[in-house]
Amino acid sequence: MKNFNKLTIFLIPIGIAVNVVGGQLAVLLKLPVFLDSIGTIVVGALCGAWPGVLVGLGCGLINAISLPTLLPYTVIGMLFGVIASFLAKKNMFDKFWKALINGPCIALISTCIAVPITATLYGGFVGTGASVIVTTLMAAGWDVVPATFVSELSSELMDKVICLIIIYFVLKAMPARFVVKLPNSKYFIKEEQ
């Protein structure tokens, strides 16, 4: 915390708030996706892994206030920060088609962590619309892990692809004079030849 760049420290609360408000907006517009990891990935990409992890942690804890059963999933949010920083270093945010690749990758990783949590802790029940898919598959004789995997992956895929497309446009629209002051700026700003 001590050796963070000053702007980074101010960006962490904003990242958390963007996550929460983005999720609220998706609910308000009755969209079938969560869209509550935009802040984490933007901060992770611009400021590095640790700030991204902190945004994920804060967002997870704040979401848990309204539904404490979400606490175990905080780990996934923290991981997004690390992944985002890694993708930024690999220049994966500079072209639109790369956003379409990033989305499924992140969705797959988060599903692999979410499934054990959902299956072991809650027996496949998460309290969202995806639970309908799980219970239907299980009633048809599927085992709990594959049923959870299918439902989680389908909702995560849609969510993360849309998320990453939005993030691509947001990062594109960032003013360079601001980005240049952030730790990961060298991956976003090309030097003039």
């Binding site: 915390m1 001590k2 963007v18």
Partner: protein, 264 residues
Amino acid sequence: MDYDFVEQYRKPKRCGNPIRDLNPMSKANLMLVLGLSPFIVQNYIFGFGMVGVFIILSVLAGCFKSFFSMYWKVLLLFGVFLFLVKSAFSPGEHVLFQIWGICVTTESIQSGLQIVSLVLAFSGAFILFVKTTPMEDFTYALEKKGVSHMVSFVILSSFQTITDLGQSAQVIMESQKARGIETEGNVFQRAKAYIPVMGPLILNAISSTEEKSIAMDARAFSAPVEHTFLSELPEVGTGEKILVAVFDIAFIGLIIGRIALWVL
């Protein structure tokens, strides 16, 4: 100048309710001990008993309304539906009734009650802690324990920023509606409204950070000195220390008992 207003800052902050006046650290400690004890005891009657205890505690702390307004959602979602899912699909021997892949057995009902009691008890502890502890008191207690003031800033600022951004999201949405963006209609039409609201929201929030950082530094935010506080929390009394210690020792006793049962 109102004399009472000034006077309230001259003594430590109290609200007169014994539960809410506990030190935030003691509350956090008690919450963990009480919320995790059902996981050690592994008995659903104890777990549901804990749920009752938390509801009674919220009444005693005088915040039953705000506590229950959040807790009932968890009770309904996880108390009812999670139980149904668990009891319908968990494996078991003594079949009560069976239809397609659904197979209700005495064991699956047991495991359903078990998991539901754990989830509900821990959720109750967590919500009760959040509802009885003002965040600024919690961060103050953390700073007293030697945590950096940056952490306090991030925590408190997050809550403030969520409120602020929520309001500006409303404003942006209204103005985009005035320009003819549809927020009703089919899924695609509604999805189209998301980026025109979210884009300006994020960029606005980020562009305000620079001014904020200058303003904060003008108020000695990063000055390398001891920080002062406007209001203080009361010193932790002996009675409170003993209370927390008793619960902690009981919890350690539970863990030892559980391990002993496994080993023997």
